[in-house]
């Protein structure tokens, strides 16, 4: 300890010591008045990353069947990957002929849970003779919760009357 740092030090000497300690060439480089010291800390960003990558949705739809034909009933199957049970899948069933009678499902817009194979199965049953040949039933599948996945899939089933 070599500085003159006792309580009796003069202001002039103190400033000289500060200048020496900070390497100040001129005294103007020493703060002319005391203000509250500020220390802030931060971190460098992750290397090469800017906006975060979109989080991959946990599930996606593999398929929901090819165009199919039906008479009295049909099944529309949607398959997700990875195969997981209990994922809520939303279906919207839209008949081209609104005058026909759909026995099942009772709601044209609803949800079904996937089974252990990752498959949700929508059973469709219509009242015989209330539809015309080539009327269609469009099933739009999506994830009920967008956090599960954002894929969609559509299957079109055509009434062929071949019962």
């Amino acid at each position: 300890m070599t500085d003159q740092t006792s309580n009796k030090i003069t202001r002039r000497d103190a400033i000289k010591i500060l200048a020496a300690a900070t390497g100040a060439v001129v005294l103007a480089n020493i703060p002319d008045k005391w203000t509250k010291p500020i220390l802030e800390g931060g971190v460098l960003p992750a290397h090469a990353q800017t906006s975060p990558p979109p989080p991959p949705p946990p599930f996606s739809i593999v398929d929901c069947g090819v165009p199919d034909t039906m008479c009295a009933s049909a099944n529309s199957l949607v398959t997700i990957t990875p195969a997981t049970s209990g994922i809520s899948m939303r279906y919207v069933l839209t008949p081209s002929n609104p005058a026909g009678t759909i026995v099942f499902p009772t709601q044209l817009n609803g949800t079904l849970l996937t089974d252990a194979s990752g498959v949700a199965d929508l059973y469709i049953e219509i009242q015989f003779m209330t539809f015309n040949i080539n009327d269609t039933f469009t099933v739009d599948w999506s994830f009920d919760d967008p956090d599960d996945g954002i894929d969609t899939c559509q299957q079109v089933i055509t009434y062929d009357g071949a019962c």
Partner: protein
């Protein structure tokens, strides 16, 4: 108590002095720090040759109108500098 501690600089920092304010960068830690002029002044005085008490006396003599404030500010800052790994305490 910090009074008799002789704080000294930790190695490995790069620094930029812009008008008396400092930015410190520690590449190995990916850490960056900013100090205003008084903060940088205290940090520079912590060069391993003075106790905190001696730094307090020096600054109080240089800024007599702020002596009371300095007695509160400097130990708090030195604490933070040690906590952040910018200074070591012995």
């Amino acid at each position: 108590m910090l009074s008799n501690v002789i704080p000294s600089l930790v190695d490995g920092f790069r620094m930029e002095n812009l008008d008396g304010e400092f930015v410190l960068l520690h590449p190995a830690r990916d850490a960056v720090f900013y100090m205003n002029r008084t903060g940088a002044l205290v940090w520079q005085l912590c060069d391993g040759s003075r106790t905190v008490d001696e730094i307090l006396n020096l600054l109080s003599a240089a800024y007599p109108d702020s002596a009371e404030q300095i007695r509160a500010d400097v130990p708090a800052l030195v604490h933070s500098l040690i906590d952040q790994g910018i200074l070591k305490s012995g």
